[in-house]
Amino acid sequence: MSEQQTPANDKQAGTPQDDVTHFGFRNVPKTQKAGQVAEVFHSVAGKYDLMNDLMSMGVHRLWKRFTIELSGVRPGHQVLDIAGGTGDLTMKFSDLVGTSGKVVLADINASMLQVGRGRLMDRGYAGNIDYVQADAEHLPFPDNSFNAVSIAFGLRNVTDKDQALRDMTRTLKPGGKLMVLEFSKPTNPLLNKAYDMYSFNALPLMGQLFAGDSESYKYLAESIRMHPDQDTLKGMMEQAGLVNCKYYNMTGGIVALHVGIKP
C-alpha cells in the first residue's frame, strides 16, 4: 500500500478519542463528519449519475438490479430507500409496489434529494413516492413501518453506523428486510491490488476531468477502505437485532449486498 493509502493518525488536538471518527483517512470530530460529507455530495450531486456510470463502467446498475431482485418487494409494500440519492432504487421500487404501495426516498443531503426528485418527476414517477430529508441515524418514522429498507452506497458515509443500523431495524416491520449495498473488500489479493491502483489513481483523475473535483473522489476511495469488511458488517447487523443475516459478494467482493430480517 502506498503512503497515500495509509490512514492518518492525526487526531484532532484536544479532542477525546471517543469523539472522533474517520473522514476518509483523516480523523475528524464526530460533530463535523456529517457536514464534511454533505460538502462532498453538494459538490458531486449534479454529475453523480454520470460519474457512477464512468467509475463502475455501468456495473453499478447490475449491483442495484440484484438488490431489487433480492428485495422481494411486492405490490402494496411500504419501502424506505435511505441515502437514495438520485433515485435509482426508488424508481424500481416504485414500479414494484404499484399504486397501492409507497416508497420513501430519504437522503440527508438536500442537493442529492433535489436531483433525485427532478429525475424521477422527469421520468413520470409520481403518486407513490415521498421525499424526505432525513439522517439515517435518526429516522423520522414510527416503529414497524416498512416491509423493506435499503441503503445503497450510503452507510459508509454515516457517522455512527451502529446507531443507523439500529434505527433502520426499528422502522422495519417484523419479517421486513434490510438491504445494505456497499463497497467492501475484494476477496482476491490480485484483484485487491488492481482495485487499489484504480481507486487511488483513476478515480480522482476522472473526478477532476468530468466533475472538476478530485478531492471528493479521493474521499470516495478512502472512505471505501475505512468501511467495515463483509463479516464485520454482518456482525454489526446481528448486533442491531437482525436475524438470518448474510451477504452476497459481487464483482469479486468490490461490492457486497448484506441482507438481514427483523424477527
Partner: protein, 213 residues
Amino acid sequence: MFPGPTLLSAMTAVVEGALNRALELDPAGRKALLGALTGPVQFTLTAPLHLTFTLIQNHDRVCVSSQPAETAALELTGKPMAFAALAGGDDQVFQQGRIDVTGDAALAHQFQRALNQLDPDWEAALATHLGDVPAHFIGQRIRGAVKWSRQAFSVLNANIEEYVHEESRTLPGRRELEATFEDIDQLSLQTDRLEARLSLLERPTNAEPPETP
C-alpha cells in the same frame, strides 16, 4: 459459485430487455403472455446448471428475476435443453415428463399457448432502422432461408428413416413393428384369458354351493 450475482443480474437484464423488445413487436402475443402471468412463474433449471428464474408481470412489462418467487403461481422444473425445446414450440415436453409442473396446470397450458402464439414482427423492427424496402428484402430472404432449412431438415429425417427401415433393414419398419406389437398384445390378452379359465376349472368341484335365501 458460478455464475455470481453480477453475472446473474446481467443475464436477467439481457433476457428481460430482449423479451420485452420482442413483446413490443407482437401486441397480441404480449396481451396473451401478460394474461398468463397472473402470478409469478418460476423456472428452475436442474443439472448441469442450477439456476432459478422468475417471470413477473409489472404493468405492461415482463420482469425477469434471478431469485425464486415467494409464492409462485406456477413452477416449471427441468433441464436447460427441455426449456429450450419448450421455447422452440415443442409441446411434448410436459407429456414426456421432461418438465415437471407444480401449481396451476391450467395456467401452465395457458402459458404454453401464449408462448406458441408469440410471433414478433421482426421486419417492422428492422424497417425502423433500415427503411421499408430493405427490411422487406432482408425479411423475405430470412423467411425463405428458415423455410428452406425446416424443409431440408424434415426431408433429411424422412430419408434417413427410410434408409434405416427399408433399404438397409437395420431396424424393422414402423408398420411392421406396429403389427408385431399388436400381435404381442393380442397374445398377452389370450394368455390372460386362458389362465383365468384354467384357474376356474381347477376350482374344487365339491365346494359347497352358495347359500340361497
